[in-house]
Symmetry: C2
Subunit: 312 residues, 2 copies
C-alpha cells in the first residue's frame, strides 16, 4: 500500500458529548461512554464531531475534555477528534493539541462561515493548516459534511490536497449522504482512507476498500454495526447483508427524530442518568412523548433492546 497509513478498521463513533444540568461538560459520563463504546464494538472514537455538538463547545472546553478522556485511560491511538473551526489560528491550535497528545488523527472541517468559496481558497486554507503544523505528526482527515457545513470539498479538491500533502492529508469522513461521492472518493483518490459518515452504504463501501465507517448511531448501536463488518470480513456476505437490514432501519428511525437529542434521550432512558437528556442550544431536548415513541419504535419494530446495544 506504499505510504498509506494503516487506518483504524471498523466502526468509529463520533462521540456524543454529555452535559451536566448547568450545561458544562459531564466529564465522568463522557469518559464512561467512551470506554463503553470501545468495549462494545467501536474500534475508535471521533469526539468533537457534529454529533458531539463540537461547534457548541468553547475552545478551552474542547481541550480540557480531550485531556480528560485520555487521563481517564482512553488510548489516544483510538481517537480522531474533530479540530476544525472557521479560522486557521484556532484550528491549528486544536489540531496541534490533538497531535501532541498522540491522537490517531484530526478531523478537520472546511472553513464553513463564508459560502460559495472557491476550491483554490479552500486549498489555501488546508495548505495553511499543514504549514502551521510543520513540526509534524499531522494525520489530517478531511470532514466533508455539506448538509450541515454547507461548504463541501469536491472530489477534485480532495485529490489536489492528497497529491500536494500525501504525508498529512491521509483520509476523509464523507458525510455527504451521497453514495456517488463516496464511491468516487474510494475509487478515484489514490491512497485515501475513506470513512463513510453513515452505516447505510457500509457494505458497498467495505467492498471498495473502506476500512469501516464513522457514524453517529454508533453511540447506541456499535455492537450491531461491528457485527456487520465482522461478518463481511469473515466472507459471510449473505449473513452480513441480512444483519445490515435492522442496522439500517435503526439509523433511519433515529434520524427522523434528530440524531443528537434522540440518542441522548435513549441513553438517558437506558442508563437512568437524566443528564444524558441535556443538549446545548441551538438544540432542544427531545420531548418526552417523542422519546417514548422512538423508544417504542426501536423495541417493537426492530426488536432493539437496551441490553442488546451493549452486546459485542
Amino acid at each position: 500500500m506504499g505510504d498509506r497509513l494503516e487506518p483504524l478498521r471498523g466502526v468509529i463513533s463520533p462521540t456524543l458529548t454529555p452535559f451536566n444540568d448547568d450545561l458544562t461538560i459531564a466529564h465522568d459520563l463522557f469518559s464512561d461512554h467512551a470506554q463503553h463504546l470501545l468495549e462494545t464494538g467501536c474500534v475508535g472514537l471521533a469526539p468533537f464531531g457534529t454529533t458531539g455538538e463540537a461547534l457548541s463547545l468553547g475552545i478551552e472546553e474542547r481541550i480540557a475534555a480531550l485531556e480528560h478522556l485520555i487521563d481517564r485511560g482512553i488510548d489516544p491511538k483510538r481517537l480522531i477528534p474533530g479540530t476544525g473551526l472557521t479560522n486557521l489560528p484556532d484550528t491549528a491550535r486544536l489540531t496541534r493539541h490533538a497531535v501532541d497528545l498522540g491522537c490517531a488523527g484530526a478531523l478537520v472541517l472546511p472553513p464553513f462561515y463564508f459560502k460559495n468559496v472557491s476550491d483554490d481558497g479552500l486549498f489555501a486554507y488546508f495548505a495553511g493548516l499543514v504549514e502551521r503544523m510543520a513540526a509534524g505528526g499531522l494525520r489530517l482527515y478531511l470532514y466533508h459534511i455539506p448538509p450541515v457545513a454547507q461548504v463541501g470539498l469536491s472530489v477534485d479538491l480532495v485529490q489536489r490536497l492528497r497529491a500536494a500533502f500525501p504525508a498529512q492529508v491521509v483520509g476523509i469522513k464523507d458525510s455527504s449522504g451521497d453514495w456517488t461521492n463516496t464511491r468516487r472518493l474510494l475509487t478515484e483518490v489514490a491512497g485515501l482512507i475513506v470513512y463513510p459518515g453513515s452505516e447505510l452504504s457500509l457494505l458497498d463501501a467495505l467492498s471498495l476498500g473502506a476500512p469501516g465507517c464513522i457514524t453517529a448511531t454508533a453511540n447506541i448501536n456499535a455492537a450491531q454495526i461491528a457485527e456487520v463488518i465482522a461478518l463481511y470480513r469473515d466472507g459471510k456476505e449473505a449473513e452480513a447483508k441480512r444483519q445490515h437490514e435492522p442496522v439500517k432501519q435503526l439509523r433511519l428511525t433515529v434520524q427522523e427524530y434528530g440524531p443528537i437529542p434522540a440518542q441522548k434521550y435513549l441513553l438517558s432512558a437506558w442508563s437512568g442518568d437524566k443528564r444524558w437528556r441535556n443538549v446545548r442550544p441551538p438544540f432542544v431536548n427531545l420531548p418526552d412523548a417523542a422519546g417514548r415513541q422512538l423508544s417504542d419504535a426501536l423495541q417493537r419494530d426492530l426488536a432493539f433492546s437496551p441490553l442488546r446495544h451493549t452486546r459485542v
Copy 2:
C-alpha cells in the same frame, strides 16, 4: 422613546481587516483605516463583521486587534464589534471583552453551524448569552445575515428576544437583503434599533425610523452614503434621492466582484499599500485584470475617484 437606547445615527462601516503579507493582522493599516472612516463620514464602525473576515480570525487575534484600535485612539463609543461565534463560552468571552472596553454594542450572529434549528433553540442561545453577561452593560445587536450564516432570525424570534430582554437586546443588523423583512423589523418590533445591512434601501429605512445603515461599501464610499443621510435629515428628499442613485450603483458594481477582495483591491490601488490586497483563505485575492476592470467601471460609469471617497 422610553427605554430605547440612543443609537449611532448615520453610516457605520463593517471595517475591512487588513493583513500583512504573512497574513497576520496589519494593526497599523487597521487603525489608520478606522480613523480615516470616522473622519470621512462614518458615525461608527463595526469591526469583525462578515466584511472584516472575522470568522477567519482567531479569538486572541480579535481581542488584540480591538484593543489595538482603542489604544490607537478610536473611541469605543463608536464601535459595535462583531463577537458572535458558533458557541456560547467563546461568544460570551468576546462579548464581555467588548463590553468591558466600553464599546457601544456587540453584534452577535446566531450559532451558525447547525442548520434547521428551532426558534426555541436560538432563543435559548441568546438567553444563555444574556445570562452569562449578568454583570451588565450588554447592548446586543442581533446579526441577521441568512445569505452567509444560513441560520437566520425570524421576526417572531426577534420580537420574543426584544420582549424578554429589553435592556440587553437593543437592535439588529438586517443583512437579509429582503426589504420586507427590514420593513417588518422597523414597524413590528417595538423599540428595536434596526440597521439595514446595505445602503440599497437606505431612504426607505430612514423614513421608517432606521438611524442609518451598516454597510460593507462604507469602507470605500462612506462620504457619499453619509451625504445621502444628511440630505434626507435636512428635508431635502429629492436631492437625497438623486444622490442615492450613484451610491446604489457603486454598491451593485462592487458586489459583482465580491465585496471583500474587491474593496481591498481598490484600497490597495488608491493607497499604494500593497498589503491591502491580502485576504485570508477561503477568500482569494482579486485578480489584477478584474481589479482594473472594477476600477475602470467605478471611474468611467460612476465618476467615482479615489479622491472623492475621502470627501466629507
